[in-house]
Amino acid sequence: MSKTTEVEKDKKRSIPASAPLMAFFVGLFIYFSVASEYFFDIENFRNIAVALAVTGIVCIPGTLLMIAGQVDLSVGSAAAVSGMIMANMVNKHSIAVGLAVALVFGLTLGIINGFLVTVVGVNSLITTLGGLATLYGIALLIGNGQTVMMRNFEWLGTSQPWGVPLPVLIFTVIAIMGAVSLRKSTYGRSLYAIGSNPNAARVVGIRSNRLLFITFVLSSVGAALAGAVLSSQLSAADPNAARGLELEVITAIVLGGASLAGGRGSMFGTILGLCTIGILNNGLILLDVPTFWQRVAQGLMLIIAVSFDSLRQKLNNQRS
């Protein structure tokens, strides 16, 4: 046997990380297309995309963090606070001021998270779990627990330049930037290295703390932007609108093949995971399944995905 054929054979045999999810996605897509006459429709796809854009904006920096072995649970509450800030500022001052203050809030939160994790050395799960609770409280405090209505700020969430909804456009730009930097930049490669072996990353001279700090800032800024988009879509800021966002984000990322332990994952996988959640939610609605089932389905999907991934790794390990 020549050497090249052996290499090719091995390549063919190893199961790509995203193959099972891809199969599941295609299966689900075909099923809904057959089961519901409304599913396979360009207008419906647009709805799905709009529904996903907010989560997607948070998923991109979330994937960067997860690959580096970190997690940010504060994104849902951060989006809520950002929305409340928007609503107050838009009503009192202007949209520009509102956006600026919301993004500054995201930046500040990211700096705090990054500081606590990289300088003080608190575990990121705990740090951001604290952030989740604190910020949710702050969101409630700002609006006194009420939904705050907004005037004249629909464009960010609802305008459609060249027929594409603006949130989808924003998400696409961020996703491309995220994917390119993850695959091609020293920053992205370093995140993989940090997640794969933080000690070795330090020894080899990667400035791990600095890079993690930056990534936490990106995550919070992404959450703040997502909160602004969401409030614009709703024409109102609701402290509960982004509840559970962090779970949806983590589900999409883990479905996409990222490992909670870090070192594995890809932007393509995350986006595929996101789309799977999107068509599942949408399809269940179209089939008149009570909305509570969406939560059940999403949770089960996460468990199945993780189990599948563990099995796949076991198989791959056995063969080598």
């Binding site: 290499v7 390549k11 020293t186 290295a193 020894v203 080899v204």
Partner: protein
């Protein structure tokens, strides 16, 4: 004693349709030590894993204590008294020494641990091993060599009848090795059969009764250990005659590369001074705890420096952090490859290129093609065998190949000073030769200064242009040229 403790007959094993063991026999009598030799990939690990029930054989029979078994699982193997001691540590670093010795089988009743009892028993066992380790210390705070001894102590508490030792001495100092051999002699008297996997041929005649050599999945030689000639064993392992175990050709080097003066770090070492020429390979020989590896850690910025100075090619360098050091042209290869060296889930190409990303990138973007190019540049020179090419995960390579990738990492980064700690720990004989050749050739070609901390005197003989011996935190003697030999090194270090 006619009855064998264990008998493996005509064992075949295939992975993925590729047969890696082609009908191997192995027997082990009570109170016998069988040394199992072979290069990485020869099938030693697979064979002992089959004996331990880790993996089932494709065909063949296993007989343990008169019971013939077609299939053996891990629990059954444990029940029958088979215990494995691995080269990699399998302990719980955050638990105490005593807890680690009795890991999972803590003495006590009704679910409560009898602490006093356990500590007492732990002390007894450690005393039997003649080691001075505090039973209340955290296992993670101990040196690798000491933690390895805990693993052996644990097997002793579990009534092992067949003990498989997979390169247990790779991380031990000479005194600790001798201590282990004394313990093994005791176990022999108690009728324990041992399979001893090693890469150190000099240990074979000291400790083993019989030697079995595997090559490419076949058993090629089984002889009495006492009369076994070193050359015969090496030839059997390699399939061809090996080079003489001689000093490398002398090379004259000049120009100060790395210069350290009155270098100190707390209690670990003090007043260490040396100068390494450009292109020179200097070995800092010392037992674990002598301070040799600590000197390298301090130069690289991993350990605080309390005094002295470092100059690199005439320029003063203040060790601050690994980041600072690596960007100042210093490379560092740690002894603990898994924990500090390799990125297990990443590809070999990435693992090799990681220290050169800055140089390979433009505006912060790396071209993956450059990584692959870097890999193919070094995979030939370093004889790295990665079956699946540059994208293969490094964790799936043998220890020797992983080490070559990590060496290539610093060659590719074109470092001026290369610091290596135990560069061939857990690496088989063939790959070891390769690695020595590569280090020496690369040093001469690129003019980098290479400092190696090692506790393996054979390594010093084969690798060093010059040897410095450390003991108790100080440099005690220096050998050059043909005065570098095993005997003088060992006597100087102890």
């Amino acid at each position: 004693m006619n009855v064998d403790l264990a008998q493996l007959k005509d064992i075949r094993k295939s992975f993925n349709g590729v047969e890696v063991l082609h009908g191997v026999d192995l027997t082990l009598a009570p109170g016998e030590v069988l040394a199992l030799l072979g290069e990485n990939g020869a099938g030693k690990s697979t064979l002992v894993k089959i004996l331990a029930g880790d993996i089932p054989p494709t065909s063949g029979s296993i007989t343990i204590a008169d019971t013939e078994l077609a299939r053996l699982d891990v629990y059954q193997a444990r029940q029958l008294g088979v215990r494995m001691i691995f080269q990699e540590l399998n302990d719980a670093p955050s638990l105490s020494v005593a807890e680690n010795i009795f890991l999972g089988q803590w003495p006590g009743s009704k679910g409560f641990v009898a602490w006093g009892d356990m500590r007492e028993k732990a002390r007894e066992i450690l005393k039997r091993l003649e080691v001075d380790i505090d039973v209340d210390a955290q296992a993670g705070s101990l040196r690798v060599g000491e933690r390895q001894i805990l693993e052996i102590a644990r097997a002793l508490t579990q009534n092992a009848k067949i003990l498989v030792l997979d390169e247990p001495t790779a991380a031990l100092s000479n005194a600790e090795v001798e201590r282990l051999f004394i313990v093994m002699d005791q176990l022999k008297k108690q009728g324990v059969g041992m399979i001893y996997i090693t890469h150190r041929l000099d240990e074979v005649s000291r400790v083993a009764d019989r030697v079995q050599v595997l090559r490419d999945g076949n058993s090629v030689l089984t002889v009495d250990a006492k009369g076994a000639q070193r050359e015969v064993l090496v030839t059997a392992m390699l399939g061809h005659e090996a080079l003489k175990n001689a000093r490398p050709a002398a090379v004259t080097t000049s120009g100060n590369g790395l210069e350290i003066k009155n270098f100190s770090s707390g209690d670990d070492f003090n007043d260490v001074s040396m100068t390494i020429n450009a292109g020179e390979v200097v070995c800092l020989f010392g037992k674990i705890g002598s301070g040799s590896s600590e000197v390298l850690e301090s130069i690289y910025g991993l350990r605080p420096v309390t005094g002295g100075s470092v100059h690199i090619f005439g320029k003063e360098f203040k060790p601050k952090s690994p980041q600072e050091s690596s960007s100042s042209g210093i490379g560092y290869l740690p002894a603990d490859r898994q924990r500090l060296g390799s990125f297990a889930s990443r590809s070999v190409a990435e693992n090799l290129a990681v220290a050169s990303w800055k140089a390979m990138s433009r505006l912060g973007f790396v071209d993956a093609g450059n990584e692959v190019k870097a890999f193919s540049r070094w995979s030939d020179a370093l004889k790295i065998s990665a079956r699946r090419g540059p994208t293969q995960e490094i964790a799936t390579l043998s220890g020797g190949n992983q080490q070559k990738v990590l060496l290539g990492r610093w060659f590719e980064a074109k470092v001026q000073v290369l610091l290596l700690v135990e560069p061939t720990r857990g690496v088989d004989v063939g790959a070891r030769r390769d690695i020595y050749d590569i280090i020496r050739r690369q040093a001469k070609e690129s003019g980098m200064a290479v400092l190696v901390a090692t506790s393996d005197y054979e390594e010093v003989v084969l690798l060093a242009d010059r040897a410095l011996v450390m003991s108790r935190g100080k440099i005690v003697s220096e050998f050059t040229g043909n005065s570098v030999d095993a005997n003088s090194l060992i006597s100087a270090a102890s």
